[in-house]
Each structure stands twice: as structure tokens, then as C-alpha cells.
């Protein structure tokens, strides 16, 4: 059962990475790039490293999304 869950999470990482490359909207692309980090953090928990997962979830997914939003706001919302 655990192997199946890890495979499913790896499929989620692949899907969100492809979406982050392919999506036209900048906001949706950056949010789905954060989702890839979130799935990776769940994989870290399943592999037995909860502290790495906490750091990945807080910095890789939360703070980088905030920085992306701040940069897009400074860049102007012409193309959204």
C-alpha cells in the first residue's frame, strides 16, 4: 500500500511539474510549481524524514510562492 502511495505522489509531482511548464497564466504556473514541492514533502515524510519535509513545505512551497507573487506584482499585471 505504501509503494502505491509513493507511486501516486510521484505521478502528482510529474503532473504538477508539467503543468508548471505548460500553463499560460503565470499565477497558475507558480502555484503548481509550489504543489510539486508539496507532493515532494509528503514523499519525504513517507521516506522517514519529517524535518526535511517541514523545511520543504515552509520554504520551498510557502515562501517561494510568496516571492513569486511579490515579483509578479512588482512586474506589473499586464499579462497576468
Amino acid at each position: 500500500m505504501l509503494d502505491l502511495l509513493v507511486y501516486l505522489l510521484c505521478g502528482g509531482i510529474l503532473a504538477s511539474g508539467l503543468l508548471a511548464v505548460r500553463l499560460k497564466s503565470l499565477l497558475a504556473a507558480s502555484v503548481s510549481a509550489g504543489l510539486a514541492g508539496l507532493f515532494a514533502a509528503v514523499c519525504y515524510v513517507l521516506l522517514g524524514a519529517p524535518d526535511v519535509a517541514m523545511t520543504e513545505a515552509s520554504i520551498g512551497s510557502g515562501l517561494s510562492l510568496l516571492f513569486f507573487l511579490y515579483a509578479m506584482n512588482r512586474m506589473g499585471r499586464s499579462k497576468d
Binding site: L19, A28, S32, A41, A53, G62
Partner: protein, 86 residues
Amino acid sequence: MANHILMAAAVLIFSGVGLGVLRLILGPTVIDRVAAIDMLTIICISTISLYALVADRFIYLDAALVYGVLSFLGVVAVARYLERGL
């Protein structure tokens, strides 16, 4: 009995991840995708909690707690950006 309940929870998590990724791919607007990502975050929290129960290591619940706080923060930031700029 408890094993059956855990298996039912795992099946629900599997189907929830599938439906959430489907909405993330198909979603026509940005708001649909943000809602799908919020739902997937909550499913991740439930996955970690289920694994903490299965593996009998309750230190993993701290990671789930951090996930909950960050999910709220991220969705609030995105909503504020969509409304009038960060």
C-alpha cells in the same frame, strides 16, 4: 475492523488525489486551479496523518501541523493577489 477503516481511508485519499489532479489539469480558470491546490494540500495533510497512524510514529503530526498553517497562508496570499495586488 480497524484495518478495514484504514483501508477505506487510503482508498478515499487515492480517489481524492486523482480527482484533485484532474481538476488541476482541466480547470478553465485560475480560481479553479487554486481551489484544486488547496484541496490537494488538505489531502496531503490527511495522508501524513494516516501514515503517522499506520507507522505509529506521532512525530509526523508536526509536519501535518506545518502543512495546515502554510496552506492557509498560501491561499490567503493568492486571494489577496487576485483581488488587488499583494
